[in-house]
């Protein structure tokens, strides 16, 4: 038992040393990897801080620096503002956005925790929002930043807003929250889920802002057999489209609407069908729903 405890401590120490630091100590995750908002998927995380300066998450070489400027070469538009991309020893690249890069012509590397640049703060706001991206150079993929940054504070489990099934072909969707029997046949399952978050209160305010983050993973079982199991660990590019790593599924076929996951097609048999769906956030909080569906002819 003592050996096991010691091993756990060592693993804990190693993992805490190897993990990257958030670019500010008070970082709060506002939007998560793969979260779809207003139709657009975020392949990074959006974070919020009161810190006026953001720092390097890990030691790294300066790979690319961008300052929006009308006459700059390749002044490509984005919602990222100024950013710095660092190349780290483990073949990962991190990009910290919406900063005024503290990089001149001679700055070639950053130590862990060294200031990367001043935060771009919107007029009248006390906090600033930034997007962080992690790329795996070796595997050529976009990595969920929560896999390398410290665990975010997240005491709340994800919530189900709806579980709908669509009949094969054309037809009106049916909510499983209000329906216990369905025609025998193929149905497509879509779930409406999100992970609630209460952000820390801004200075001078008693309550923090309520928000919705995307969920990290979804599992579904029909009569005990797995019909869907996907976690958003990384995104790969295939033929100009994004594919969820570990699946052969394109991201836009799974994340079909804001907060809506398409779990694909299942067959409901005659008699009782047990459909279990589990959604989880990155912290490991999970919520499950079980539906008993009577298949009728």
């Amino acid at each position: 038992m003592r050996r096991l405890s010691l091993a756990l401590v060592v693993v804990g120490l190693v993992s805490s040393v190897s993990a990257y630091d958030w670019p500010a100590a008070d970082m709060q995750v506002v939007r998560t990897f793969g979260q779809r908002t207003a139709g657009a998927v975020l392949p990074g995380v959006e974070v919020q801080t009161l810190s006026p300066v953001l720092s390097a998450p890990e030691k790294g070489d300066v790979l690319f620096v961008f300052r929006p400027d009308t006459q700059a070469v390749q002044n490509l538009p984005s919602a990222l503002g100024g950013f710095v991309a660092l190349a780290h020893d483990d073949n990962l690249r991190t990009v910290t956005t919406r900063i005024d890069p503290a990089v001149n012509e001679t700055k070639r590397s950053f130590r862990r925790g060294e200031p990367l640049g001043d935060a771009e703060v919107q007029t009248g706001a006390s906090e600033s929002r930034h997007r962080l991206f992690v790329f795996d150079q070796q595997l050529g993929e976009l990595v969920n930043p929560l896999l390398v940054f410290p665990q975010p504070n997240d005491p709340k489990a994800p919530l189900f807003f709806d579980v709908k099934v669509f009949p094969e072909g054309q037809g009106q969707p049916v909510s499983l929250f209000g329906q216990g029997s369905l025609a025998v046949g193929y149905w497509n399952i879509r779930i409406d889920v999100s992970d609630p978050v209460t952000l820390f209160p801004a200075p001078g305010k008693e309550k923090g802002t309520e928000g919705q983050r995307g969920v990290y993973g979804v599992e579904a079982y029909l009569n005990g057999g797995e019909v869907f199991n996907t976690s958003l660990d990384a995104i790969q590019e295939k033929g100009g489209r994004w594919q969820i790593k570990g699946t052969n599924t394109f991201l836009d076929e799974v994340l079909v609407q804001d907060q809506e996951w398409n779990l694909g097609q299942v067959f409901f048999n005659q008699g009782t069908n047990i459909l279990e769906i589990v959604v989880k956030d990155f912290k490991g909080n999970q919520t499950g729903k079980t539906f008993r569906i009577l298949g009728t002819r």
Binding site: L42, L63, R67, T70, Q71, L76, A85, L142
Partner: protein, 346 residues
């Protein structure tokens, strides 16, 4: 007397047999200086150009007179008589001409013009869409790494990414190969440029060392035919491109602005520059190139020959800059002022 006649005849005969072109006389004459103040005009005269300068946008007609000046709208980008901007209130891109709105494109995306073609970049620089002149989607791509540079010709689009890849797409978005420059400790693409007739691609890529490459089309693919390590290693896009319909290439080196023939890239001529050369325009009739050199707030309007001769150096101070050549009018925008210069070559 006889010898003198023979000598004169010899000179005349020589000049007839071996005529030499008279050197062109090049002059730049200030024609008009206009401070940028809000100017509203419902109808714009066709044939002019939209422009963006710092916090301002506007339109000048073919005579170079300002017909509209207003505060710049979000993500405003221009190409000749086309203007596109992102309307966040309706989550759409609006594309306008002199006569008003031409079409809108739904969704959060930001317009970019290249070689007169309309593209939009997604909010995270991880997606690119190409549209035709009527605003119909031609193709859309997602990338697994940031788009750091892109350029287009009439047919092809070249995309450089943070992971060091150069990808080429056809007019329908079909992949036409790619290239991953090696030879540097860290792969990354800083800038790309494609020749107007698709014959060559220029690339600035890599860290330790940063390298300049020329790719040439061999069959359906582009292959490297020249590469050169650079001593400068600024980790952001630095100037690179083609002028005079692709017959002249340029890029920024540690010594200044290098000109070269893309078909013989091992010979280059460097024009020393204080700071960075920006906003290059060719003056083909005079065989000259005009550009702005910028070193912080200290700038200069420069005219140089690709043979290395510096013809004009007009220093000024300014943060926001614009340089555009229209016919014989050269527009130089500096912060709140637009200066029209007449370029005369005789």
């Amino acid at each position: 007397m006889g010898y003198t006649m023979v000598a004169v005849l010899f000179v005349l005969l020589y000049l007839v047999l071996f005529p030499r072109a008279l050197p062109a006389e090049f002059t730049v004459v200030p024609a008009q200086a206009v401070p940028l103040v809000e100017t509203k005009s419902e109808r714009l005269t066709p044939g002019g150009s939209f422009f963006v300068l710092g916090a301002w946008e506007g339109y000048w007609n073919s005579q170079g007179q300002l017909e509209r000046v207003q505060l710049r709208r979000p993500q405003a980008a221009t190409s000749g008589d086309r203007m596109a901007w992102y309307d966040a209130t309706k989550a759409q891109v609006v594309v306008e001409g002199p006569q008003g709105t031409l079409f809108t494109i739904p969704g959060e995306q930001y317009p970019v013009w290249a070689s007169g073609r309309l593209f939009t970049m997604d909010e995270n620089r991880l997606g690119l869409k190409a549209y035709n002149a009527q605003g119909h989607l031609l193709w859309a791509k997602h990338f697994a790494s940031f788009v750091t540079a892109f350029d287009t010709s009439t047919n092809l689009t070249v995309v450089g990414t943070l992971d060091g890849k150069v990808q080429v797409f056809g007019s329908a978005g079909n992949p036409l190969g790619g290239f991953q420059p090696g030879g540097s400790r860290l792969p990354v693409v800083y800038n790309v440029a494609i020749a107007p007739h698709d014959g060559a691609i220029l690339v600035l890529a890599g860290v330790d060392p940063k390298r300049f490459l020329v790719l040439e089309r061999g069959g359906s693919e582009f292959r490297p035919v020249f590469h050169k390590p650079l001593k400068e290693s600024r980790p952001w896009p630095t100037p690179l491109g083609f002028l005079t319909n692709g017959s002249l290439a340029y890029y920024e080196t540690e010594r200044g602005l290098a000109f070269l023939d893309p078909q013989a890239p091992d010979h280059e001529v460097v024009v020393p520059v204080q700071g960075s050369p920006l906003l290059l325009e060719a003056l083909p009739k005079a065989h000259l190139v005009v550009f702005v050199q910028k070193d912080g707030e200290n700038s200069a309007l420069r005219v140089a020959s690709p043979d290395g001769a510096s013809v004009l150096n007009l220093p000024f101070t300014g943060r926001d800059l614009l340089l555009d050549l229209q016919g014989e009018s050269l527009f130089l925008g500096v912060d709140q002022t637009l200066l029209r210069l007449e370029v005369r070559v005789q």
